[in-house]
Symmetry: D2
């Protein structure tokens, strides 16, 4: 076993590469720039394309164009850049354009203190588009997750033709850890490819075949004519105001994501016999929680943990199943209460406590222990 | 009583005017353009300023600048424009800049079918900024509300130094109704003005006096030096990474809005003795609900209604108090389930049913009746 | 006589004000920012409007819009900003929109050394638009000229419905001189107003009445419908591909400026009996030339001078008349030879020598004397 | 001999390709879009890059970046796009960045009649940058020239590290001609490559070796540190205000282009014994002139012709030598008199007549014959 020293941004870039990503466009912003610079180093020698857009709007626009032409595409930014993405995210959702967007979160509001981290964009990533249709959001806990979840992100983007977010915080993106990278690579998920239209059938851009939940793909600029519009459209890809068509299309956009979440509910659980409390966390905070649990167990207190790595759609079945035995739930977040709302929603009949901090610092294990001792 | 024929956009403009708004900057988009054109007609003759920005980003930027200089300022757009506002909204929240933003909602995702309405931005308005700090969102039911709630919006923006959204849908903004405008004007809320710094004390831009919850105001460019930064800052307005300062500032930004919502929980309730079900709605859908209830009562069925006009922060006390007697709650929305999440959260122990439609059409009373009859 | 200490930028602003300018939009750039800040101080209290655009393109765009609505409008920038104006200049020329543009020239190429001056844009101002149709360019020698020529610039813009440039260099714009401002104001040119359409005749936007050389004006947004297009158009303001119409329109755009230059050939001449050489200069270099001539005369050498203040269209008659008696012409410019080309063109049969410098410094009198002694 | 049917835009693209161009960025505009679409077809399969920028500013910016990284880069647009290039052209001149810019001219002013052609940008291409330092401008007469001159343009850009314009009009760019393309390719100029820094000497970005006139090149991002600034700079590439350094740098920028024009004075001459008149033209107008001369010769009148293909710097020696025997010169241009100014300047002692048209139509041979018969 040879350990590599690598930060989360590099791991995201290598994950993208190993997922088959060959197009990256971005605009520099600390703490996400490391992804850009790594892509710049590794993509072009492999025949890939790396671009700096005139701004964040252009960068995501380039990615959508590249994706429509058949590339696996990614961009990366932080909160102030995510703030410029909503229009294109909504386009990607409505027109079913696969794309991976990395949000290396920093402290808000606004530019916050550049650059200290926090998980301030958790609801923004879910709701930051007009219309309210859900994207997928994955949250890594460490550098290894940055690699593996980025591959999953591409696979989900291709599988469901949707934008998928990867949402580390600055503390993961810019901190180097030693990681057994060879092992990570050896056990990586197999890449998933967009399903092309069968060659023996005519191409209807947004028609969904029986037994499938997303339309087949034909690249813009290819032999087959493909059609895209930012407007409500029917199977043919033409704008429509037919309410039954709109209704069916919108319902399918919800269903393809929300009804399938059990297939991609990534998590890590560490349950201990006899413990009454389950700590639910995500992101870098999970590591403080892990440490707190280890220390409490050393003191003889039994505490269980669930680290969520799929945040959206909410993995309700997963949360419900794992939380079932526990009397008390503690959600810990690097914000003033975002994902706890979802946990409360899923676990209506349980006591859900919350510890949240948003002051530019990591939540320390000692603070979690204090709450758990209460 | 003389009735006037007026649409919601005109009513918003007159509400703004009567609230003391003298600055409007916008970029045209159906269905919000009527607000722009009305402001263009009424503001300049009164010494006010109306500007078209180069785009939506510039438009809201102009408003923030005008507000910092002491103007009551407003912009108006629809979903695709709101999609470009996040960066400036986050700035306004973090730097406590009063501004009123009207979102005449149309059908998404993306450009949807321009222009059919829906209430697709309800969660976007709450969460569409980096950091997750709450703004205020008001939702009119009709043209009269457009007038009155816009005045409230300005009053709240000034009172709490925060962005306030007014969120009609296209069906309210662009539909003319007969309204007793003279009576509306006669009973309008009194304008609230930003509190200036007392002349006998030095000005510390973000210091909050004892017993107050927002800092006093001094205009940029005035005699007193004021300071603004998009970064985390202390009382003096200088950037800081001091976690106790950041923590206190962020907590206050939450508290000033969330702890005071009982002061501005606008609503309309129509409760009937003996009814088991409470229909909760907002926006234009309320009018279909009202019609459904009238018809059901004519059939001898007792149904009660609550029309929420303050959506964010969630008026929890209000909802809890009014819902208390009812066994069943039905939330009806012109989307696939956005605000129902909040109602479920507040009313954990009740059965909350949901009827949502997002197909470009108004929800008809008959559909609500069908669900209520179940 | 009371002297005022004033720099060229302030004088430009006051000239604009006294010419009736009530609209200014700009984007800050040293060495032109003083015009912006002065306008900001004096225009709003008089009911005028001052705007910062999102960039230089928006700023000039705002000015054109304001002008089309009837305002006398001005913007001010330097070389890098002028570099973004070409599209709108071409629009203003083709659509006959009056506007005054101040170019406080600094050293190029590109950003040069910010901020040292030079007269590097002299040909750029003439030719920096697609199609090659001429604007008017005036060049002040000192602060007094900044005031007076700016008034002339507005008068010419209104009279000929065309963009007019005022082109000081950084050395004039940002240098304070003592000036008898009261006398300047007392002897200022009377403001010229755009000629409106006679009330008794229908309005044809681009029709030129008999005996006139530009069409009458009706403001956009006024009672009369006006039409503008950036395309080739006939009298009615509709796009046309009729070659005879295009030909007549283009010819008129040339003629109205070039055939009338004798009406506005501003200059200052200091001729001495018996001198064989005429020094032709413009801008701040004129002052070095003046000093050189004074010193040479003290030595007993007779030299004459012509300071051109109208640069474009080339005041050929003026140059020819004044230069007639001289055997030798010396053109001195703060660039490597721009306007000397025009002088050579007009004075084909004379010896035209040239002294040009472009190194960030003012041309010193001693260098001019050296050349004159040759 | 196999003839190919090809338009000027395609020929430009193939010329670029055969010159070694592997980077193209542009923004679509008729009549230049054919270059973009052809590059899109031929460059990527050869490992080249084709990009659409967010606008013209970004497009040329991309090209400059690519060029600084070592690519041979090209963009193509028309007048309204050229109008957005000045800032980047000035940067390319001052920082000595090779780039080829194609201006497929259409009728101005402003958008003119899209799309009819004219040669309206001839002075704009020379003077459309702040500072007045000259670029190189080549003008093709036909499709074959589009191919060959584009190769020359790249060679000159690389040789002199400067922007080079290729300036056909719409009538050449969008008109298909039959051309013996194999022969053209067989006789094409050999590609010229940027001279790298010798490996045995340290790299000083703007130092010019003895006997050379431009600095050697090292790519940005390569092993050697290179430096660029848009400001005045010395050999080291750092900003400087040292007037002797600035003066030397600016003088060299002029000299490297103007003193070498005899090396690249492209032209075609058809002189006839005994003719008194020489017709000087360029661009598509040359073809009408050729036809006029043929017809006049058939009538027994002897007329000579000179088609200039290098317009800037003005090939003075060439013009002077060829024009020497003629009493009368006629310049014909598709504008109202732009290049005739240069001819008059060079041939001060000759009668220079002018025929110019700018009405959206080609100049017909019959009109030229009329003038020649006078």
């Amino acid at each position: 076993m040879a350990l590599t020293l690598m930060d989360g941004n590099e791991a995201v870039a290598w994950g993208a590469f190993d997922a088959g990503c060959r197009f990256f466009a971005g605009y520099p912003i600390t703490p996400a720039t490391g992804i850009y610079s790594t892509m710049l180093r590794i993509l072009p020698p492999a025949g890939g394309i790396v671009l700096q857009g005139e701004d964040e709007i252009a960068s995501l626009g380039f990615c959508l164009g590249a994706s429509m032409a058949g590339y696996k595409a990614m961009t990366a930014t932080s909160g102030p850049g995510i703030s410029l993405f909503s229009e294109n995210i909504s386009l990607a959702i409505g027109s079913e354009i696969p794309v991976v967007i990395v949000d290396v979160q920093r402290l808000g509001p606004s530019t916050g203190y550049a650059t200290k981290g926090a998980d301030g964009d958790i609801q923004f990533l879910r709701w930051g588009n007009s219309g309210g249709i859900p994207p997928i959001v994955l949250a890594p806990v460490d550098v290894a997750d940055c690699y593996t979840l980025t591959i999953h992100a591409f696979n989900l983007a291709e599988r469901f033709r949707t934008p998928v977010f990867v949402a580390p915080s600055k503390e993961i993106g810019m901190t180097r850890e030693s990681v057994d990278f060879d092992r990570l690579v050896a056990s990586r998920p197999a890449p998933v490819e967009r399903l092309p239209n069968p060659s023996d059938s005519p191409y209807i851009p947004f028609r969904v075949a029986a037994g499938e939940d997303v339309p087949r793909f034909a690249p813009i600029g290819g032999e087959t004519i493909s059609r895209q519009t930012s407007s409500t459209h029917g199977e043919e890809g033409y704008i429509t105001s037919d309410s039954s068509v709109i209704s069916a299309q919108v319902a399918r956009l919800y269903r393809k994501i929300e009804a399938t979440v059990d297939e991609f509910s990534f998590y890590q659980a560490d349950t201990a016999d006899g413990s009454e409390t389950l700590v639910i966390t995500y992101g870098v905070t999970s590591r403080a929680a892990r440490r707190a649990c280890v220390e409490l167990r050393a003191e003889g207190r039994s505490v269980s943990q669930l680290f969520l790595k799929t945040l959206w759609p909410v993995p309700e079945t997963l949360i419900r199943n794992i939380a079932e035995p526990y009397r008390r739930i503690l959600v810990v977040e690097a914000n003033l209460g975002q994902y706890v709302r979802e946990v409360e929603h899923v676990l209506k009949n349980k006591t859900v406590d919350f510890l949240g901090v948003m002051d530019g610092r990591l939540i320390e294990p000692v603070r979690i222990k204090e709450v758990l001792r209460e």
